[in-house]
Amino acid sequence: MNEHDMKDEQNDTPEKSTTNESRRNFLKLGAAGAGLAAAAAGGVTVLKRMEGLPLDHFPLPINDEYVRIDQRNQINTYSFSKKLNDDHPERTKKFHDWNFYEKKKGFFIGPYRDKAAGQGQLDRALGAAGFFSPVSQLGYKSTGMDSLNAGVASWEQTMLAKEKYKFASPEEATLCIKSAARLFGAVRCGITPRDERWDYNPLYDAATDEVLTWEKDFPFKPRSVIVVMVDMDYDAIATAPAWTTDGATGDGYGKAIKLAGQLAVFIRQLGYQAVASMNDLGMNVPYAVAAGLGEAARNGAVITPHYGPRVRVAKIYTDFDFVEYAKPRDFGVASFCKNCKRCADSCPSKAITLGDPSWGPEYSTDPDYIWQASKGVFKFHNDAKLCFKFWIENDGSCAACIASCPYNKPDFWHHRLVDAQNVIAPGPVHSFMREMDILFGYGKVSDPERVTKFWKSGAKI
C-alpha cells in the first residue's frame, strides 16, 4: 500500500463509518418492524383461533351402537313421573333403593339449614324467586324444565302470519334472527339443521304420562333448530352448591325460556312454524355444539367462549330453512378438559368421570343401572343419577362443576388473555393452568365466603 492509497483510506473512513452505521440502524429498524409484524400476525392468529376452527363434521365420533334417547330415560323427566318410577322397580333397587319420584317430593321445600353455608331462609327465598319466572309467571309446567307443550313452549302455532316473509339471502335471515335473539337477551345464538339423532324419541310428557311422537303429535316437521344461550350470574354461581346458586340457575332457565318463546313468536310472525324448547324435545349440548356455540365438556355441559359452562341453553324448532347454517367449531376445550378434571374433583356426588372419553359409561355395565346413559358417542360419560341424587339431598341445585371450571370467569381482560393462552398451548400446559387457577384462588366450591360476597354484590349497582 503506497502513501497515496493510505491517504485515500484515511479520507474514506468517516464516510464508510457513517454508511455502516446507517446500514446497521436500517437493519435494526427492519428487525424491529419484522418483529412487530410477526407479533401482530401471531395476535390475529390467536384471535381467529379463539373464535374456533370451523369443522366439517360433528366433533364427537359416533358409532352404530348409538340410538336416539327415549325421553322417559331422561333423568329429570323420569324423576317427575310416578308412573315411570313404578314401572321400573329394578332401577330403584339397583340405585341404593332410591325412588326418584318419592325422594323428590320434598325437593326445594325442606327445612332451612346452615345460614353461613348459604342454606338459610335468605338463600331459599332467592332460589324460589329465581325459579318463579319459568314455573309460574310464564306458565311453564311445574313438573320441571323438561315439560313440553306448555306455556311459552306450547306447540300451538298461535300468532302465525299468513304471509311468509321473504329474506333477500340466507345470510340476511340468519343475521336478523340473531339480532332478534340478542335483543331478547341471548349472549350466543347459532342455527343448525334439525338432526334427529339429538331429538328424544319418543317424546314423553311427565305431567300427563303421555308418550308422544314427532310424526303424529308434533305440529310440523322441523327443518332447523335455532340454539340460544343466556348467561347466569357469576357471583351467585360461585356460591355452589349453596342454595344461593338456585337464584342464578332458576333465573337462567327463566331468561332462556322467555327468550326462546319470544323468538318462536318472531319466527311465527314471519309466517313460519316454530316451537320453543328448553330441556324437552332434544338434547341441548349436541345442538349447541352443532350450532358452533361451544364444545361438549367433561362436566356434561357445553363450554362456550367467555362464559364457559355458565350458560343456559334453549332452542327453537322451526320449518324455516332459508338460513345460513353454522358449523361446529373447535375451541380447544376438549383438549383442556382431558387434562384439567377440576369439575370431577369438585363434584360433591362424584358423578363426573375422571377418565378419558369413551364409547359408553365406564362406571357400570349393568343395564338396570345405566338405563339413562347414551352409548355409541365418544365422550365423557357421567352418572346423571348420582348428580340428581345430590340435588335432592342438597335440597337445591348444585352447579359445583360450573363454578369450579377454569373457563367460568367474569369478563375481565386477564381472563381473556388466559383463554387465548389456553387455546394455543399444548396439553401439559393445561394441567399447569389448572394448578395456577387453584393457586390464584379461583373456582373454590363450598366456600361460605362466596355466599357472603354474593350478598354484598348489590353494592355494585
Binding site: 375481565f412 381482560w413 386477564h414 390464584f440
Partner: protein, 93 residues
C-alpha cells in the same frame, strides 16, 4: 375503574419509553440491557394491570399472586439491568 387504570398505565408506559430513550442517549446499551429493561418494565406494567383487575373482580388473592409471579421478577430484572449498566458506567469513568 379499569378504564382509569389503562389510562394511568398508558401514561406510565410513555414515561418508561422516554426514560429508556434518555438512558440510551447517556449510556451505550447492549442487547442484554435492552432485553432486561424492556422485559422488566413490561412485567411490572402487566403485574399492575393484572392485580388491579383481580382486585376489581373481588379476588384479591389473584391480585397478590399476580404481584408475586409477575411483579417481583419484573422488579428483579429491572434492578439487575440498571445495576449492570451503572457498574459499567463507573468502570468506564
Amino acid at each position: 375503574m379499569m378504564d382509569l387504570t389503562w389510562y394511568l398505565l398508558g401514561a406510565l408506559s410513555c414515561a418508561i419509553v422516554y426514560g429508556l430513550y434518555e438512558l440510551s442517549q447517556k449510556q451505550r446499551l447492549n442487547w442484554l440491557d435492552w432485553t432486561g429493561l424492556i422485559l422488566g418494565a413490561v412485567l411490572i406494567l402487566f403485574a399492575i394491570a393484572w392485580s388491579v383487575g383481580a382486585v376489581l373482580e373481588g379476588v384479591p388473592r389473584a391480585g397478590s399472586m399476580g404481584m408475586l409471579l409477575f411483579g417481583l421478577p419484573g422488579i428483579v430484572l429491572t434492578t439487575l439491568s440498571l445495576r449492570f449498566i451503572l457498574a459499567r458506567k463507573e468502570k468506564v469513568s
